[in-house]
Subunit: 487 residues, 2 copies
């Protein structure tokens, strides 16, 4: 680490690249500190005590930990210190969990001690209703001006880095996995896990974002080898111009997914009170995110879907899809969703149709969507043969960029099971995404989750809970592919 | 049953009420037949054989079953008949699963035998690409004209009635439950179970709907004591005027939920080929369904959510909601969704605010959404007390019609667990819906599904997988309440 050469770049003398590296090194102090002071750690331990020290020890963090509590001499067998200045060693990071009124004094101590990274966990700053809270936050910002110290927070659970078994969360995390998904959020709710996925890579909760902001953290993830996908939860951003410049550059290298909240007039007003100036209307954000090449997440449910798609599937090179279903009716629903997400359902090529017609009853229309039920239910072809023939046919077709499978999960009991056939085909056609929305309603008792678990281990297929959600995710793979091509 | 007095009402001499009862009695022949002839039943049995006889026997149907197969004398120990006319007893219902070309001959035999209910399972009629299929379907319609025989299908899995342990589905149903949800669909995919719910009440798959249609089946469910909620999956409807008249009447008595597919220009063209004339544009359907008081389901995922809401929650009398969350950031997201679903987030009354302020830190803003984290994390109030005080306060508030809880599931390990407190409060406030979207990401390992299972047994709370989905469901409870009040 070269953070001793740190220069906040406020003089404007450094070249851009140098400043960037400095920010990155600075954030490394938060993400992989060699030593941490925990200010205001409670002597209460055990379930529901929200004791940061206990959580850090449980995770197995290997750096030095200095708990600060003037009212006791040990907590969990660890020696405590009465104040920061009593620590007779260098400290990379201070995590401050005191009542808000004590914060200025503690920050002053941290600066004197030479601590360059401070996380302010406490609430009641810009997020409070009273003038005092806002004043306190402004004081803090003034205190670090012209120092080498940077702050994450206040009103945050801080950072989480499973790659070094470290987290500053006061909430006990049931599982932190070394996954290549970097999170930058403004609520601690995302630094636990994603719905339906239970995953988390490195995480930064900016809270009120009084100092370090999205652009800074994006630069950290830009250079971070452990992170392949970046997820943002944005309430508001202070320096819009810098965000756009940085995000657009980073998005060319790694997909950035963003959930922007506070977009209705009332919620924007609330978000405004937490953060800075660039709250803006929904339409403005739509444009900004698009310009940056950021994939916008419309809904809580979509987070897990997109993480899954971007983690497991190749990009969709065009917008043309083939839909394979076991019911004409379900195929219709998927067509409606394609319209919504601007995906095309082209006619299949004559060669492709010929391959599928050869296994179907003569009266059956072979169109896109392809209904494969008649080939099985009426022509009595083996299920595996029908599935394999159809998927291979459409994936070979040059008109097709991706396939959506809406086939039930019940043939898992047959040998070879559906999922093995799908995986086999996926390995043959590695450059076209296969999205599977197994309809759970029918028949034998295997769940979509079991199929998903099986498939996740093996490769380039992703399972979604409905055809519409699968198509929504595919459309974002197509959006990002277009951005990368400069379209 | 009085079906011997059946009169299809085509002479126009009967009074409306009589015709209605006749339709209902007619459909009863399909739904609760005393005897069934299975035409074209295969001698192949066992897994994946799609043998209707086997499925019927497995379900424990108590009527008489007559398998028809000219090539064998017994199937599964049951005597088979070489043709319909060889059955020397009355037959209420014939289920015809032969290749399409044999259908006209078999229908003629059924009519001669006096069978008044026929399900045509086979495909290749109006759903086929060739002229022959369309011609066959027209022939069939002509054959039953001026007879007492009615048809469901073709291209259908028929009917399902768990209340008499009966189903004509060739697909083995893993579980058929006696639930008060009546299904009328145009694909067999819905006659299995609903995603996430695994439930099915009585079900009718209309398939190509060459004869019996939505209006007929709606009248059946109108009078059916076992059915409290009606779910429709509509591709197209032939007689729009009659549908509107019947649906509007039935919707006043029982909530009707409808998923309309085939709404994009291309999918509408495909739907057209299956069914009749009233395909129409999405905007037209939007108006028609609204006029009928039918709750429109926008998405596959929404089916389960709305069934859950209408099964477990009281209606929402107005459109004003209180949101209780453990994170300001998540509260913001919910505000955005409220705007989308036209729900208001009113200021709480001074009395309500006072109750919540009394347990919160002094600097904390008590607004709607209510962030209860500071009361627990900072004022160190017991979690249960905070939750109970807050929910009771907002539900007592006259400005509030429903509450959305966005609180984690991790306090289930505390005594009393969150879910018990929520249930207790729900029992006190029976006329206001409580929707719970537990955030799964945080902490101890209880899942939303476990909470849901616990709560479902007890009462008036429903659990949803995201705040947005909860709000979408609540907004539909408000829509239906407004329709019932004539607004």
């Amino acid at each position: 680490m070269v953070y001793l050469q740190y220069n906040p770049g406020k003089t404007g003398k450094n070249k851009v690249e140098e400043i960037k590296m400095n920010t990155v090194e600075q954030i490394k102090l938060f993400m992989e500190p060699r030593s941490v002071a925990l200010v205001g750690v409670s002597s209460r331990t055990g379930m529901h005590s929200f004791n940061i020290l206990e959580n850090i020890l449980d995770l197995g963090y290997r750096g030095n930990v200095y708990p600060i509590n003037p009212n006791t001499s040990t907590i969990l067998g660890r020696k405590t210190y009465s104040s920061i200045k009593k620590i007779d060693a260098d400290v990379d990071l201070a995590v401050v969990s005191t009542p808000r009124s004590q914060s200025p004094g503690i920050i002053e101590e941290c600066i004197k001690k030479g601590i360059k990274a401070i996380i302010i966990v406490g609430q009641g700053f810009a997020d409070a209703s009273d003038e005092e809270g806002k004043q306190l936050q402004e004081n803090i910002i003034r205190m670090i001006r012209n120092t080498e110290t940077r702050i994450i927070g206040p009103n945050t659970i801080g950072v989480s880095n499973p790659f070094v078994d470290f987290s500053t969360s006061f909430a006990k995390q049931s599982e932190i996995k070394r996954l290549p998904i970097g999170v930058i959020s403004q609520t601690g709710m995302f630094s636990g896990s994603f719905p339906d996925l239970n995953l988390l890579g490195k995480g930064i909760d900016l809270g009120n974002a009084c100092d370090l902001d999205f652009a800074d953290c994006l630069e950290y993830f830009e250079y971070d080898q452990d992170t392949k996908i970046i997820f943002l939860h944005i309430e508001g951003i202070k320096n819009g111009r810098r965000f756009i410049e940085v995000a657009r550059r980073v998005a060319k290298k790694k997909p950035i997914l963003a959930l922007k909240t506070g977009v209705s007039p009332r919620s924007a007003k609330v978000a405004q009170s937490h953060t800075g100036s660039m709250i803006g209307k929904n339409e403005i954000w739509e444009g900004v995110l698009k310009q940056c090449g950021i994939i916008r997440i419309g809904d809580f449910d979509e987070i897990g879907d997109l993480i899954k798609a971007f983690s497991h599937l190749p990009l969709m090179k065009g917008r043309s899809i083939a839909i394979i279903s076991l019911s004409g009716g379900i195929g219709l629903m998927a067509m409606d969703a394609c319209e919504e997400y601007q995906l095309n359902i082209p006619e299949l090529s004559p060669e492709t149709r010929e391959k599928i017609i050869s296994i179907s009853p003569e009266w059956h229309t072979i169109n896109n969507p392809v209904d494969i039920w008649p080939a099985m239910g009426i022509s009595r072809r083996p299920f595996g043969e029908v599935l394999r023939t159809t998927i291979e046919a459409v994936l070979t077709d040059k008109r097709i960029d991706a396939v959506l499978l809406i086939v039930g999960a019940w043939f898992e009991s047959i040998s070879p099971p559906f999922s093995e056939i799908v995986l086999e085909v996926a390995n043959k056609f590695k450059d076209k995404p296969i999205a599977w929305a197994p309809y759970e309603g029918w028949l034998y008792k295997i769940t979509a989750r079991e199929i998903e678990d099986k498939i996740k281990k093996h490769g380039k297929v992703a399972v979604f809970s409905s055809p519409k959600r699968a198509l929504r995710a595919l459309s974002k793979l197509a959006d990002y592919s277009a951005f990368q091509r400069g379209e």
